[in-house]
């Protein structure tokens, strides 16, 4: 019997009429006899994933958010296309002394006062679509697209790192208990008592100076991997703790006992019995983690401990724009809006996912068991 059928079996209401209660829904039927309580029309086909997908599909707002996020990702992936074919420049190419010809009009990219050209939209055939970025005269739109690649890369890859670390730590400490649990949990407590921004800033500054040596692998101080690894690491306890709590509860369930009785080893129990039951929690955490990672990246880059120049990220762009806040507010507003839109779309989609995967709000704040703060809050 698969873990899913066990889990769902405990909460499956009595099928009411139409269809699947009959043929093919024996005990081994992979949880197929679950009624989608929200469906209203009594449809009851499919496993838990199909049900979640149906719920998600009804949440138009969440799907719209997913669409926006994918659109942003695609735009950023297509950055070289825009740079080579429309803007004809690279993200770090300066145009300080150049002039722009728009019909009969000639404009300076950077005025002698240091003020750069504003948004041109398509007046110059797409060049300087959003203007230039201050006294260096780099194309803001091109930088925005390339910066988005760094920000998204860090957000997503760091979330993958956090998820993997959290799963490994939670499985080891939740399943084995005893000394393993004590060591891992205390270590997590220490990281937990460390303000996220402070720890990541400290690591970011130290590693940006000296780089990082992991075995034969050397990362330069300016590598994108350094902020990625730091962010992935500092958020680990915020995900590992609630996962561990869930594993502790699952470990006492009958299907684990059944697996042990069948002679299953620890690896099989952990990965084939426990892990599938954690998937809905993990997916939700993973999604919301991306949003927090992107905010933390922005703060780190803003304070000089994240993405290092000349690479750009949305955080470094705000930081550069901030120096000219009063003369050219757009240079701060544009990258900030990009972050806001991306993070907002991830948050809205994550919220919808949580509702779809877990209508009983298991993932929500488990304060009653003493482990609140299942989501880390963004940096302040």
């Amino acid at each position: 019997m698969s873990p899913e059928s066990e889990k769902q079996g405990t909460e499956a209401p009595v099928p009411n009429g139409t269809g699947a209660s009959g043929a093919g829904s024996g005990i081994e039927s992979d949880g197929a006899r679950v009624v989608d309580a929200d469906a209203g029309d009594g449809r009851q086909t499919g496993g838990p994933w199909a049900i979640a997908w149906r719920r998600l599909r009804r949440n138009k707002f969440a799907l719209f958010a997913l669409g926006v996020f994918l659109l942003i990702v695609i735009c950023c992936l297509l950055a070289p296309v825009w740079a080579n074919n429309v803007a004809d420049t690279g993200p770090n190419t300066t145009h300080t002394l150049e002039k722009l010809h728009e019909g009969d009009e000639v404009k300076e990219v950077v005025e002698p006062s240091g003020k750069s050209i504003g948004p041109q939209w398509f007046a110059a055939g797409g060049k300087f679509f959003l203007g230039a970025d201050g006294h260096l005269g780099r194309d803001e739109m091109v930088r925005l697209l390339y910066g988005g690649r760094s920000s998204l890369f860090i957000g997503i890859v760091a979330a993958v790192i956090t998820t993997i670390l959290a799963i490994v730590f939670a499985l080891l400490s939740g399943f084995y208990g005893g000394w393993t649990d004590t060591v891992i949990s205390r270590f997590m407590d220490v990281i937990w008592a460390f303000p996220v921004v402070l720890l990541s800033l400290a690591l970011g500054i130290v590693l940006a100076v000296g780089g990082l040596q992991i075995g034969p692998l050397h990362l330069k101080g300016s590598s994108l991997w350094i902020p990625t690894l730091i962010i992935g690491f500092v958020y680990t306890p915020y995900m590992a703790r609630p996962l561990r709590g869930e594993i502790l509860a699952l470990r006492e369930k009958e299907f684990i006992e059944a697996a042990v009785a069948q002679g299953a080893g620890p690896a099989r129990i952990m990965f084939l019995e426990i892990l599938p039951n954690l998937m809905s929690t993990i997916i939700v955490f993973f999604t919301l983690n991306i949003a927090n990672n992107m905010l933390l990246e922005a703060v780190l880059s803003y304070l000089g401990a994240g993405v290092q120049p000349p690479s750009s990220s949305w955080g470094t762009m705000i930081s550069e724009g901030f120096t000219a806040l009063y003369s050219q507010p757009l240079l701060t507003i544009i990258p900030g809006t990009a972050i806001l839109l991306t993070v907002l779309s991830v948050n809205v989609f994550g919220d919808g996912l949580r509702d779809a995967l877990d209508p009983k709000s298991k993932v929500r704040f488990e304060a009653r068991s003493g482990t609140a703060d299942t989501e880390a809050i963004g940096p302040v």
């Binding site: 303000p195 402070l198 705000i318 806040l325 900030g336 806001l340 809050i377 302040v380």
Partner: protein
């Protein structure tokens, strides 16, 4: 209760010790740069670097350096590498500014968080709920320093209602207030959004409990059910979050806000210390911050017991 307290305090001390070792290692083992060379400045002769090493004790063994450092911090004699000012004194001077910022912001975010969360839960699924949800999600999705930049631009430059930055002591309440309003808002927005979401989902969970149905069946008014039965029992997650968040902030966690508004508190000092890699200062502010986090963790556990008599401190495994 006493046993609980003793156990928690011992645990907290162990965590603080571990943190101090961790910070010490981050700054003394990981970096490729030599602290003595940083202090001696650029173009320093090898002899000068060696003298600095001896003067500051960098040539000693690591455990010995750690011990000296901790002794300095706890006897109030720790000095900054960069400016030779007394770090403990500098932190003490920053406390009023940080406390003013955090307490004011906390009042704002709790008020709005509660109001929005309560209204959302009462009208769950309706238009008001949806509007407030969007608002809350926008609030938690905004980079704080970006919001702060926009506030600075629009309210100190475009329309000059507020002074640009700095902190004024409470001895002049008018000035104090006008300098703090923008920082309060930019710090509070994120938390207000987050707390209203937490309160909403917590209230929705409680509303499905049997005793709420009982209260309704007894004929209590909607308002009485919501405030006396639902709200009180939904408070635990919010209290937990508040304890942890406030602990972080009061210990100098509002690094970004204090930097942007140039509020000379503990957070700004932390940012400066980190940027100049001034190790004694970093070590001290980290311990200072961690102390508050650990302290508020314990306070939260005690608050649980008062809010929910079912939780007994002796058996708590937090």
């Amino acid at each position: 209760m006493l046993r609980f307290l003793i156990r928690r305090i011992l645990g907290a001390m162990a965590v603080l010790f571990a943190i101090s070792v961790l910070v010490f290692l981050i700054f003394n083992v990981v970096p490729a740069t030599n602290p003595a060379a940083r202090i001696a400045g650029k173009n320093a002769t090898p002899q000068l670097i060696k003298n600095v090493e001896e003067e500051w004790g960098f040539d000693k063994a690591l455990p010995e350096q750690y011990w000296t450092q901790m002794k300095l911090i706890f006897t109030g004699k720790v000095e900054s590498f960069q400016s030779h000012i007394n770090v403990d004194k500098r932190i003490a001077e920053g406390i009023p500014a940080t406390a003013s910022l955090c307490i004011g912001a906390a009042i704002i975010w709790l008020s709005f968080g509660f109001l929005f969360g309560y209204l959302s839960a009462v009208r769950a699924g309706g238009w008001l709920d949806r509007g407030l949800t969007v608002l809350a999600l926008v609030g938690v999705s905004m980079p704080v320093f970006w919001l702060a930049s926009l506030l600075l631009y629009y309210f100190t430059y475009k329309i000059e209602i507020f002074p640009a930055s700095g902190y004024e002591p409470l001895s002049d309440p008018g000035k104090w207030l006008s300098h703090l309003i923008l920082p309060w808002i930019s710090l509070a927005v994120l938390f207000a959004g987050f707390y209203s979401r937490v309160l909403r989902s917590s209230m929705l969970d409680v509303m499905n409990e049997d005793y709420v149905r009982t209260a309704r069946a007894k004929g209590l008014s909607q308002r009485r059910v919501m405030t006396k039965h639902v709200l009180r029992n939904s408070l635990i997650p919010v209290i937990t979050l508040f304890g942890l968040d406030f602990g972080v902030l009061i210990g100098g966690g509002a690094i970004v806000t204090e930097t942007l508004f140039n509020i000379e508190g503990v957070g700004l000092f932390t940012a400066e210390a980190l940027q100049t890699q001034d190790f004694p200062s970093i070590m001290t502010v980290t311990l200072f911050g961690a102390f508050f986090i650990v302290l508020f963790n314990i306070l939260v556990d005690i608050a649980y017991a008062y809010l929910d008599p079912r939780i007994r401190l002796g058996t708590s495994t937090a």
